[in-house]
């Protein structure tokens, strides 16, 4: 195995291990609350929750601000246009 590959494997393995440790630490600090793993963005009620905590004002928060500015997304079919008047006989 080349040294570059060994370094890459070591770095990526280290990142994964450190990441797992941080996740476990954050879970423990939250009082073992599983909501800490959740992120909820509800466009209908305009509610944004990060780790179980509601975000009152998403202005100035990257990504969440963009979601909050999105208008309602209407997925229903558009209404048919009115039929044109028949030409006079």
């Amino acid at each position: 195995m080349t040294s570059v590959k060994k370094i890459l494997l070591a770095v990526s393995g280290g990142l994964v291990a450190f990441g797992i440790v941080l996740v476990a630490l954050g879970f423990a600090l939250s009082g073992f609350d599983t909501n800490v793993f959740t992120t909820t963005i509800d466009m209908r009620s305009r509610e944004i929750m990060l780790g179980g905590v509601a975000v009152d004002d998403p202005r100035g928060l990257p990504l969440l601000e963009q979601f909050a500015e999105l208008d309602d997304v209407n997925v229903s079919a558009p209404s048919a246009p009115a039929a044109p008047k028949a030409p006079g006989a």
């Binding site: 890459l8 494997l9 990526s12 990142l15 996740v23 990257p62």
Partner: protein, 235 residues
């Protein structure tokens, strides 16, 4: 039989092949005869050791890939017959050839699609990291510390996982590149002979080869297609 007589007769018998192939075969056997004469054999003795021109020509033709061999043997009987068969048989061989090319191309694309899929997975895993970092920043702004730490953990974990999968994707891509090269060689094998790693007259597995992969006169061979030449050369 003299050397020039042998080579002329061989050239006549191989007239069904392209001119460059005929010249290459004649040069090879001229060299083989010259080598034997240098070893002390007389000219006629060295020529006799090659076998008859008919046997040598048959061995060369038998060693061709399937499609060039069929074309050469038909052309040897009659060029007109070859054209008639090509034209009359075109409703059969043209669709077959197109289907063969389509299958070969599809398999080639499928092989590379595997590699692309692995790279997409690696890119997706790495792509999660910046999103989690942004969410960690948002969590920091609202003062939710456990969420920040968890999001940082996810970001680093997915980044590491993405790098691991990327390393695997690189290794898979190298193997797939080899596999696709093998596939191309296999797909072309009925039409073109692979001459091996050393070019036109290199050696393969320690055995000297003549033109088109035929063993040099006197060389041992286990291939059915080239054993005839060896048997002839041994007499």
């Amino acid at each position: 039989m003299k050397k020039n007589e042998f080579l002329d007769r061989l050239g006549d018998l191989l007239a069904c092949l392209p001119a460059d192939q005929v010249e290459e075969s004649k040069e090879f056997y001229a060299e083989a005869i010259a080598d034997r004469m240098e070893d002390g054999m007389g000219e006629e003795e060295a020529v006799a050791a090659m076998g008859t021109p008919g046997e040598v020509a048959e061995a060369i033709l038998d060693d061709l890939p399937a499609v060039p061999r069929a074309i050469a043997k038909t052309r040897r009987r009659s060029t007109v017959l070859l054209w008639v068969l090509a034209i009359v048989g075109s409703p059969v061989w043209v669709p077959l050839l197109l289907a063969f090319a389509a299958v070969a191309f599809t398999v080639y694309v499928c092989i590379w699609t595997l590699a692309i899929c692995v790279w997409i997975v690696a890119a997706a895993l790495v792509g999660i990291a910046p999103v989690m970092l942004v969410l960690a920043y948002d969590g920091f702004m609202i003062g939710h510390v456990p969420f920040v730490i968890v999001s940082l953990g996810w970001a680093l974990g997915f980044l590491g996982l993405g790098l691991l999968v990327g390393t695997a994707a690189w290794a898979v891509s190298k193997q797939i590149a080899r596999l696709s090269a093998l596939w191309v060689k296999k797909a072309l094998s009925p039409f073109r002979k692979d001459r091996g790693g050393n070019g036109n007259s290199g050696t393969t597995a320690g055995r000297p080869h003549g033109p088109w992969g035929t063993p040099a006169p006197g060389a041992q061979s286990n291939d059915a297609g080239t054993a005839r030449l060896s048997a002839v050369a041994a007499r």
